[in-house]
């Protein structure tokens, strides 16, 4: 048997959804479910090896080809960019990037440069660049909602799922930036060198979405 195909999964919810999907395809994911602290786990009957990593690292490992495939959110892809094939929209992990401000403020009024707080500076920059708007972008690591409340920023660009956190903090979405969902990505060389195996797997996945 050939060496297994390595698939990097974004730890957390995307990992669980992907494991669910693999099980739906009929693969035995016991090792992944009972992983303990292990980070590389076999799915023997699929000739797969699952690697658990943080979202950004999934892209890094796939780009370098040390993992052949990966499951990562569109949010991370938009922020990180990189050279890989983005093959399938897996449909789960759905949410969106949105621009939010304090309720009742007219964000686009006035000529002053707006300050945007975000965990995703590249996403925010390209969103406003397309509008031809010069903005000041401040990177925030934790709860971005704080920045407009503390009056550090005029608005935030962040991931919104239900909008409850925004609402409870007196913020509201004023514009959608982009929809987000989990993507199956592949290294550009792996897809070519192991075309048959990867295509078979993708076909099965697409049939079961």
């Amino acid at each position: 048997m050939d060496k297994p195909i390595r698939m990097a999964l974004t730890k957390g919810r995307l990992e669980k959804d992907t494991v669910g999907l693999l099980e739906k395809l009929g693969f035995d994911c016991t090792a992944v479910r009972e992983k303990g602290r292990k980070l590389i786990l076999p799915v023997p009957d699929a000739n797969l090896e699952v690697v658990l990593a943080k979202a950004n690292d999934v892209i890094t490992y796939v780009e370098h080809g040390v993992c052949d495939m990966g499951v990562v959110g569109k949010d991370t892809i938009m922020e990180m960019k990189g050279k890989f094939f983005e093959l399938v929209d897996l449909g789960f992990g759905r949410c969106r990037f949105a621009l939010a401000t304090k309720k009742g403020t007219d964000f686009y009024s006035g000529y002053g440069i707006k300050t945007i707080a975000t965990k995703y500076p590249n996403v925010a920059r390209s969103f406003f660049e397309k509008k031809g708007m010069d903005t000041e972008i401040i990177k925030i690591e934790g709860s971005v909602e704080l920045a407009p409340l503390l009056e550090l920023a005029d608005g935030i660009v962040d991931i919104v799922e239900t909008g409850t956190t925004l609402k409870e903090n007196g913020l509201e979405v004023i514009e959608d930036v982009a929809p987000i969902s989990a993507r199956l990505i592949a290294n550009t060389v792996s897809l070519k060198m192991r075309q048959q195996e990867i295509e078979e797997l993708i076909k099965k996945i697409e049939e079961n979405l």
């Binding site: 080809g65 040390v66 592949a186 060198m193 075309q195």
Partner: protein, 397 residues
């Protein structure tokens, strides 16, 4: 102020001993191959005017070039590529030379890569440029050289071909702005099926959009051509391009003679402004990016004022040495055979004796210690088999 005197800039590294030997060996293998096909080596400056890389078509994003200014304040770049400088030379000093010109090079290119990504800003490339021939044989010669370049390492490899013309023909028939076309190209390059489908749906259903949607999936072996014929609108031009590519594919498979894998990818649409026809890529098992990249670029040199067709490719020497290092051990650094120690006053005699031994083909070091014990210790540590002492009377082993 912080001093950076103990480290090298990000994206660069020192190569020592075995690492050096691998790199040099690969360079030599490549250059021997190229010159055996009758290609002549050239060296272009490490520094070029920014303008050489800032042509209309802007093949190189300016943010990826190292820039500096000359003493007159003019903008220079550290060469990010060798093909453009060679195109410049061809359009100037070699303008009256007899065609075809067969040129090769091995030199470093510099590109700024994103920090902390494990990428190198300094890449040694060896490559060829075949200028002035549109013959089918020219394409085949280049393919065969690319195949030999991949075969040389005794590793599993894959040689991939494509043709930019097919994409250009298709997208040309779409009622789309240049910006939209560029976005479609990008999505095909990234094989981003979900976004490509969404994007093309906005142009309505037609044979052209259906074919574009499938283009990135059309990769693999011979079967790709049959699939493509079914999908792609029956049209003189595209059918002709496909047939051309199929012939090249078959020839390439024969040239590889069962070694490695020859594949075709109709979704190879990188650098559309640069390439005008055949596209070539080469992969080695165990390396996450292509190690060979090239193709036909019939319009590039005309940007320098000399309209002449050309085709070529570059081999990433660093990538190959990385794979070799990963797969095996570094080559042993050649050992010194003899060390010659001179007693006080016998230095000249010792240097002469050492020289005589070298002439016999041995690697000989002069001992640079004040006493024989240190010499013996050094010889033991460095596994030098023989210590010769010159004391005026004769030799002592």
């Amino acid at each position: 102020m912080k001093n950076y005197d103990l480290i090298t800039p990000e994206g660069t590294k020192d190569l020592l001993f075995g690492e050096c030997m691998i790199t040099r060996r690969i360079e030599k293998t490549m250059m021997d191959l190229f010159t055996s096909y009758g290609y002549s080596e050239m060296i272009t400056p490490g520094l070029e005017f920014f303008d050489v890389f800032n042509l209309n078509s802007r093949y190189f994003p300016q943010e990826n070039m190292y820039k500096l200014t000359d003493s007159k304040g003019r903008l220079l770049v550290m060469r990010p590529d060798s093909t453009m400088p060679i195109a410049r030379v061809v359009a100037t000093r070699l303008r009256d030379a007899m065609l075809p010109l067969k040129l090769c090079y091995h030199q470093t290119v510099y590109r700024t890569e994103a920090a902390l990504k494990g990428r190198s800003d300094e890449i040694v490339q060896a490559g060829i440029e075949l200028i002035g021939s549109e013959q089918k044989m020219a394409d085949l010669e280049v393919i065969s050289m690319a195949a030999e370049s991949l075969k040389a390492w005794g590793m599993e490899f894959s040689l991939e071909i494509g043709h930019i013309g097919i994409f250009k023909e298709l997208v040309g028939r779409l009622e789309a702005t240049d910006k939209e076309k560029e976005r479609i190209r990008k999505l095909i390059e990234n094989k981003n099926f979900p976004a490509l489908n969404d994007m093309l749906d906005t142009f309505g259903a037609s044979p052209v959009t259906a074919a574009l949607k499938k283009l990135p999936a059309l990769f693999g072996g011979e079967e790709v051509f049959e699939k493509a014929e079914e999908l792609i609108p029956d049209d003189g031009n595209i059918v002709r391009l496909l047939e051309e590519l199929r012939q090249i594919y078959r020839s390439a498979s024969k040239l590889c003679g069962g070694e490695g894998n020859v594949t075709v990818d109709l979704g190879l649409v990188n650098k559309t402004d640069y390439y005008t026809g055949l596209i070539i890529k080469g992969y080695l098992q165990g390396h996450g990016e292509e190690v060979i990249s090239g193709g036909r670029y019939d319009r590039l040199i005309s940007e320098f004022g000399y309209d002449v067709p050309a085709i070529g490719f570059a081999v990433n020497i660093n990538a190959i040495s990385k794979v070799i290092e990963k797969n095996g051990v570094l080559p042993a650094v050649p050992r010194t055979d003899v060390i010659v120690y001179a007693e006080e006053g016998c230095e000249v005699a010792a240097l002469k004796a050492a020289q005589e031994l070298r002439e016999q083909g041995l690697t000989v070091e002069n001992a640079l210690f004040g006493d024989i014990e240190s010499v013996r210790e050094y010889a033991k540590e460095k596994k030098i088999a023989k210590v010769v002492v010159i004391d005026g009377s004769g030799e002592e082993l």
